[in-house]
Symmetry: C2
Subunit: 494 residues, 2 copies
């Protein structure tokens, strides 16, 4: 049981800078008053302790205040991915039974089955000196963060205050913290990577330079004019940044590269350019970082994500449940105090152990290598796409007999989404029609960039679709054709 973290922070560092956005900045004492003002607004709307409250907003100072305010009220934050379609996020909101969804005014007309509450900057006018906080019970759920499930149905990971607390301290002990740190965060707050920076900085008493999204010019502008010391990036962003500048500010002591596997070549280029990159393996289900490798080790071993953080244990497990020796590939199993309480609607994880579905190995030094994210997971520009979800949409078309969605390697995006479709006998369909169908029901980043029509899908011995084989076939076909993607790739995580 702890007191409200922001309140605790204000007691000891009221004048320290908490948040920057563009030219504006807020000290901890100011932020705290804005948060109490938001508490008053939320309470007036009927928010009660224990309520689930959806937030469908882009990154903003208001969003940061809402995170703290919901915690202070004892409510549970349900951050919604702004790139989802109406149907997609409404499903999530219904699933956890949100009392309301806070959204931009222009989105407030969309709701049918849920109460939509428009919020805007005027919420920050109503400062309030004090709002009596609910205690931060360490086992209390702070947020439900949705990840797509293998079944195609998203799952809501319940993250507790304890998860964030241990994540913050173990991250500090791995990568260091200095009282004047300034963390540039351009990851969305609905992703655990963005959310974790907010809690971490509040506990440390350090500042966040928050960006609405990854905008190359804006990020470079921050790097040039603010004393940025840390930055979180997905590999796609890192690649773009590297192309855009030759030198790095002296203040920048670490770039944390996560969200997807970074190619060793990309890491080598970054280090050669003088950018100290730390690779990390993170999970929504473990409140962000599980393992992180410091720059001097990345130089020696590009591609590994290093050792697990303090108090977190990584095991590599065979299909039969055996622990595997060094250098043997198996499923990555994570244990420790950052592992979520469980998924909403499923059994609680009582032993703080999560079977990731990701494949990897630990080398003789004890460093982790992630060979492949959850067998069928596609990571494109930092966003996760689960094939089953896209396949379900494709198969809903009357002319589609079978469909398989895979990720193809891509220099800029890590992976791009591609689909193989088998057309039913006696029917016909175009790629444009299928793309149109997907666009209606799926977030833009989930759309197949290329749709291949095939006579049949390759099968494994046990009769399942041979995804690996298909992915290889499609990659070869793409190389042979030299064809441009059907759909252009959206911005990463914007």
């Amino acid at each position: 049981m702890q007191n409200d973290w922001l309140e605790s922070r204000v007691q000891v560092s009221p004048t320290q800078t908490a948040l920057l956005m563009g030219d504006r900045q807020w000290r901890y004492a100011e932020l705290n008053r804005l948060v109490s003002g938001c508490c008053a607004r939320l309470a007036a709307l009927g928010v009660q302790p224990g309520d689930f409250v959806g937030v469908l907003l882009p990154n903003s100072s208001l969003y940061v205040c809402l995170i703290h305010a919901l915690a202070r009220l004892g409510a549970v934050l349900v951050p919604l991915n702004t790139r989802l379609t109406l149907a997609e996020w409404q499903w999530q909101v219904a699933y956890v039974d949100c009392r309301m969804v806070l959204c931009e005014p222009e989105a407030a007309a969309a709701g049918q089955d849920v109460r939509l509450v428009p919020v805007d900057e005027t919420w920050l006018d109503a400062e309030s000196a004090v709002w009596e906080s609910q205690q931060f019970g360490l086992n209390r759920v702070q947020a439900v963060v949705f990840t797509s499930g293998t079944s195609g149905r998203p799952k809501g990971a319940m993250l507790t205050f304890s998860n964030h607390f241990y994540s913050a301290l173990a991250s500090a002990y791995r990568v260091g913290v200095l009282p004047d740190d300034l963390w540039l965060s351009c990851l969305p707050l609905y992703h655990v990577g963005g959310l974790a920076v907010i809690w971490r900085s509040c506990l440390y008493g350090t500042a966040v330079d928050l960006h609405p999204k990854f905008d190359l010019m804006a990020v470079n502008d921050s790097l040039n004019h603010k004393p940025i010391s840390l930055i979180s990036l997905v590999p796609t962003m890192l690649a773009r940044l590297l192309e855009s500048r030759q030198t790095w500010p002296e203040t920048l002591r670490l770039a944390l590269i996560g969200g997807a596997a970074a190619a060793p070549d990309l890491l080598a280029r970054a280090l050669a350019a003088g950018l100290p990159v730390a690779t990390t393996y993170g999970l929504t289900e473990a409140a962000s970082q599980v393992a992180t490798m410091r720059p001097e080790d990345v130089r020696r071993k590009p591609g590994s994500v290093g050792r697990s953080l303090l108090f977190t244990t990584v095991r590599i497990v065979a299909a039969d449940g055996r622990d595997l020796p060094p250098d043997e590939i198996g499923e990555i199993v994570v244990s420790g105090p950052t592992v979520m309480a469980g998924y909403v609607g499923e059994d609680a994880l009582t032993d703080h152990t999560f079977h990731t579905g990701d494949m990897g190995y630990v080398d003789a030094d004890g460093d982790l290598w992630v060979v492949q994210r959850r067998s069928d997971l596609i990571v494109t520009g930092g966003e996760n796409v689960y094939p089953a979800e896209v396949e379900a949409v494709l198969k809903s078309h009357t002319a589609v007999e079978a469909a398989c969605v895979v990720g193809l390697p891509d220099v800029e995006w890590g992976q791009v989404v591609a689909a193989a479709v088998v057309v039913k006998e006696g029917t016909a369909v175009t790629a444009a029609e299928l793309t149109q169908l997907c666009r209606q029901r799926l977030a833009g980043y989930k759309l197949p960039r290329q749709i291949y029509f095939v006579p049949d899908l390759p099968l494994t011995a046990s009769g399942k679709i041979a995804r690996q084989e298909l992915a290889q076939n499609l990659a070869i076909a793409r190389l042979a054709s030299g064809v441009e993607p059907t759909v252009s790739q959206p911005e990463p995580l914007s």
Copy 2:
């Protein structure tokens, strides 16, 4: 409940440097094997979970291993001040009912009422790969650290793993931590300031450069040849260091000045010399730091100890229990997760609140100023002397009618111990006789440096001895006489 901290650290940072002493160094994996070896030795001697085990040793790598080994075995460390007389530490050992006392071979013959176990470097020959650890229950007592009591009887502060855990993280968040930090520690491990550095560094995964004692040449040698980034000093040590060198290594980012109030002039000299000093107010009863002020603030406000650490609250309370407004002097009351479980043999502190007896105020910015340690407490060269204990010895002499012991201001030592003695009618005694008596029963640092014979002691309106007035009288008498002290001052904290 957590796993053994050293074991947790070894899992994630086996090759990181843990400890340096002179030219020798140990990595975490090596230290861990030595600790398991010590566990085997201690278990063979009969040490059981829950046992209290005294350690009467100077700083050494073996001492560090014993700290970890006793924790791993579930036993409670009772670090004994090596400067105490036999009678003094035997009283402490008997009071907590130590199962044994680990000491240097030459001291092992001294014991009569307690089992003395000689330990030496050969204990570090018996490496052992594994020793099954007791869980670190956060409410489990890790150590009993004795402080002198106002009654003249020492009190044993029970420090839990939770106390150290929160102290470590809050200290990191205040002064920063970097993965390659190297902390020079020349404070004795039987003081909380020395002990806290060991746990803190283990949790951070950083290294300690441990010195057997404060030796000016050895400390300068470390500063010149090792990448020291942090150092803990009491003001007397700071003064000596400042006289001994002009420049400071670039790696040194902070000198933590605690143990006694540092004079604003001394701090100003340190800052002018380019040494980044952070002032701190620490208590044995709060696992070390309560408040700490960063160097840039010390420059602005020399003499304050700054804000309390995260999760720790400082209140200033009047004699009637009222909370006092800013700038009013009252008793300093500390609350938070670093506050001890209680004193051995007294009621537990169930609300994590400790009434320090120290006087101070909080200014309008919220920064703490310590006006006077526990009204009668004397701090000399970093050691605490409680007048009642010394007075009891003086009064035991048949020729002494009354005695009062006070601290007189001193440039080098902060304070020096002085006594005023009233001789019984019809009897006679010399200062040398009284010094001899004190020397038999008290640690050297507690001896009055000057004994004044007076016809009577000044009294307050309520009939108590007017200590403040007496101290002023003696200070004036000292100035007027220009006499050298009766007893020369020992080394600080050696």
